[in-house]
Symmetry: C2
Subunit: 557 residues, 2 copies
């Protein structure tokens, strides 16, 4: 019989699986009743048109609350890896570990959440090692689309897990170091028990391509243009920003940064020695006084975010940047799924101003992905040779496809856990041994609320169907003591049937419903509200073929 | 001085420009004060997550109401070309002209709108000619992704316009005829004044590819699969349906159609002699009793439409079709912009059931576009050699790019009108001579309402911010005569600050606002409502950092 006190090594994805964004992974070591945990990444994802009023979504980490968490390691500074720290640290309450660039941006985040004084944040050098109880975590330099991306070699008495983080194989990442292939190979030689690996591009053949290729393409493109040039890219891709700056310098253009996060991230980059030898940026206000051919803007807003720089330029509401016929906007970025409509609207507005657009679709060299395509995944499996493949960081179909690829690469075991599936990595054959509470929490009105919460459900219902408000007073004998007032929110009228008329008719229907009630019942507000609700829902169905939220308020006077 | 009574030929796009969908184009002939009009296509577009509660959007054709419209010609049966007939015909009131397959589906539409007895619908043979006052309209057979696509050669005393409709150059369209190149060349030889042309794929190099290639790819793919196979495609692409049926027959599979529009369109196809020599379809109920390897479903729902067949299969709620591990879903379709999120959710649900997916991204041969890519556009310009290029059927950036391409093709004039721009085609140089009322109308609650209407604006506001309802009674002296009742819709609470507590606090704030009022004012319901609204908006901002719709109802008792 299996001893209950055996040490076990488990992996628990809470936000990292079944999502392209929002990473929160936990590794547990020890006997089942007394596990010690380390957490890898605490990220957010963002709301979209299906979650009106909800901009930020975080993993539900309630399972870990009160567990013995001995450290939180952040692989890199993208929002889907560090963005939920401000929301979730108060539940997790463990020291943080990150390399300098990541640590700089984490400090900003903690400051915003008023947590800076409470949290211990350890800065780890690139390639450094963190000792956390039974875990020895080795930072492994990889390449991605942000400075200082790290994979983690998590050594435990039961074996080593290679947690890749977000990665690609970039032979010339423009800024920062190349992938530390030596270390990955060495880990493979020593034996990798499990590899927990990025699945974003598992459906894409070949390789993602190098930042150096983008650098060359941008230099060519910018060099060929007359008029003002604006380049939209992710601020966190400092290599990209660097490439754009070099392209501008080669073309005799001064660079102005436009958008708050451009300023924020370039400051972080400079703090770790990046972007050091570039000419000073000018302000967008100064840039106005330069000839069109001598200026280049690097802008936020490639995803069509309505308040970002590029949307304001497209709307003609930016105080300092004005683009029109003869000018150019280069999208050195991809379309993040969910942003298609916003980006399309943005691009049509720019086009309408006469601005010429360049996107990766029509100019394939001007963007590369930061995630590994199939050939890179194969290469990584050849280097690391894990016994267990655990695809993560992908939607369900990505994870499923990734297990197929791992099997093709002769990996003995491949498991695609769902969020909340606890995977036993050792001892014995890997398997899913538990399912813990999991899910997503929505930041709604400044509060953390359940994903399927009442408030959003009501807002969605109101968005599609509108709201009817019915009020009247009854006296202590249950007699109607005021007019019946009916108001509609989000309900249409037309020339044949104006809204006022519809609301009058609905008031009549409410009156009829009231009359039909048993006199005894009429003294019961809840019964009255229920009867009126039913009558008005039915009437609304006849008028608008929809069922608005009907809110009947009966006042007792 | 120009004579006011000169005949002019004008082109007026009302829904056909600045949109990928929703075509409504008008051609006017005669002196400016007495134009005769023909209309080409009367299409819809569909709502998305940004238009909650609005599924159907139609062009605002109010400018044409009361004008001398002598005929409405429908190029083909796609919804973006015929879908608004039921909504707009009562304004336009002119006879309809269409080829048989299109006419069949128009009749269905008119029947649904209770207009069948009112409308005259002329069936025109393929290649036929329609004489409409000064217009002689020649149907020109082209190829597209639906049976019987037509371009129109619109002959007038001032020259010929080639209105392409939706087209591509398919050497082997599987069903129906090939592009009538002879006629297009002949028109070019005789002289084409203007070409009004599809811009959908102007950013795509090369050619769209042939349905015959898809047929081969589907036969290969389906032939290689074990387990149940479902193929999702657009029902209106009868060639595609035909190809899937042949692939199934070759693989020894019986075919079941799943989804209402599959049945509807295949009936239309059979009425014009298509799909004649295929084995009878079986019902989805019968298919259940066949071995998995002997059945193939052709499904609606490739766009993730929640009520379509494929979504119900993915949800496990379809009464007859159950797919799981070992089964396959082939998406022989593209992602229509705006549907990305819905399709992603659908595919993840299927993947979660263990179903293997095949999309054009990972299996490029299984879908081709129905619209011309750049090489096809160049070919068409070489055949038709128009004096004026008028790009239509595209977003703004497509139209702008298309004018560039036309200029490269040596077309003397290229104009990209916006919706509502009246383009003078002849006599003299082409130019935009007027801007008429235009826009989009939303079908909202069964009514046609303006695009920027109050109802949708309120619903969107409610979707992001929620609704607060405040009610109380005052007596004839302006004294509060009931409790203050506050209810929230779509407003969250959490453990630290439950919603009930927030609503109680808001009731207190309403009470304070009331107390602060001048006693004289308190007798004025509107003033009371205004004061309470202001107080509660401010309080909501403090609680939730948002501004809900506050609806205060003061009853007089």
């Amino acid at each position: 019989m299996k001893k209950q006190n055996n040490d076990e090594l488990v992996f628990l994805p809470l936000g990292g699986s079944n999502e392209i964004g929002m990473n929160l992974n936990a590794y547990g070591f020890g006997p089942a009743h007394a596990r010690q945990w380390i957490i890898v990444d605490v990220g957010v994802t963002f709301g979209d048109q299906t979650t009106p009023g909800v901009d930020v979504i975080v993993p539900d980490a309630s399972f870990l609350e009160g567990e013995d968490i001995i450290g939180i390691v952040l692989t890199h500074a993208h929002e889907d890896h560090i963005g939920a720290l401000g929301w979730l640290w108060p539940q997790l309450r463990a020291p943080l570990y990150a390399t300098p660039f990541t640590a700089y941006l984490i400090r900003e985040k903690l400051r915003d959440a008023d947590l800076l004084d409470e949290v211990t944040l350890h800065e780890v050098p690139l390639g450094g090692t963190i000792n956390l109880g039974p875990f020895r975590v080795e930072m492994v330099t990889i390449t991605h689309s942000i400075p200082e991306p790290n994979g983690l070699a998590i050594h435990t008495p039961l074996g080593t897990v290679l947690h890749t983080g977000d990665w690609k194989i970039d032979e010339d990442p423009v800024v920062g170091q190349r992938t530390d292939v030596e270390t990955i190979r060495r880990l493979g030689d020593e034996g990798v028990l499990a590899m927990v690996c990025d699945s974003t591009n598992v459906f894409v053949d070949g390789v993602a391509g190098s930042e150096a290729e983008v650098k060359a393409a941008l230099a060519n493109l910018v060099g060929s243009l007359k008029g003002k040039v604006a380049v939209a890219c992710f601020a966190s891709n400092v290599a990209r920003v660097d490439s754009v700056v070099r392209a501008a310098e080669a073309a005799g253009r001064r660079v102005a940064l436009v958008g708050r996060s451009m300023h924020r991230i370039t400051a972080a980059a400079k703090s770790v020695g990046l972007l050091k030898d570039v000419r000073d940026f000018i302000s967008d206000a100064e840039a106005k006084y330069l000839p069109a051919d001598q200026v280049l803007y690097i802008c936020t807003g490639s995803q069509g975010e309505p308040r970002a720089a590029l949307s304001r330029i497209a709307d003609g509401t930016h105080p300092h940047v004005n683009l029109s016929t003869g000018d150019h906007v280069v999208f050195s970025s991809r379309v993040i799924p969910g942003n298609e409509i916003a980006i399309r609207n943005l691009q049509n507005k720019l086009s309408d101003r006469g601005v010429r657009l360049y996107t990766e679709r029509d100019h394939p060299g001007i963007h590369v992905s930061g995630h590994p395509c199939r050939d890179e995944l194969r290469q990584m499996y050849q280097w690391a040779r894990p016994s267990i493949a655990i695809p993560t960081h992908g939607e369900r179909r990505h994870l499923v496809e990734h297990t197929q690829l791992a099997k093709e690469m002769q990996v003995p075991h491949a498991i695609a856990p769902r969020n909340g599936d606890m995977v036993l990595l050792a001892p014995g054959d890997p398997s899913i041994i538990d399912e813990v509470p999991n899910g997503r929490l929505f930041v709604d009105g400044g509060m953390l609320v359940p994903e399927a919460g009442e408030a959003l459900r009501e807002r969605r219902h109101a968005a599609s169907n509108g709201v009817l408000i019915v009020t009247f007073a009854i006296d202590d004998k249950g007699r109607q003591a005021s007019d019946i007032e009916v108001r509609g929110l989000g309900l249409p009228g037309d020339a044949d049937y104006p809204l006022d008329e519809a609301l009058d008719d609905l008031a009549d229907r409410a009156k009829e419903a009231l009359k039909k009630m048993d006199p005894a019942e009429r003294n019961d507000e809840e019964a009255v509200e229920g009867a009126v609700n039913r009558a008005l829902k039915k009437a609304s169905q006849q008028i608008w073929d929809r069922r608005p939220i009907v809110e009947t308020v009966v006042l007792r006077v």
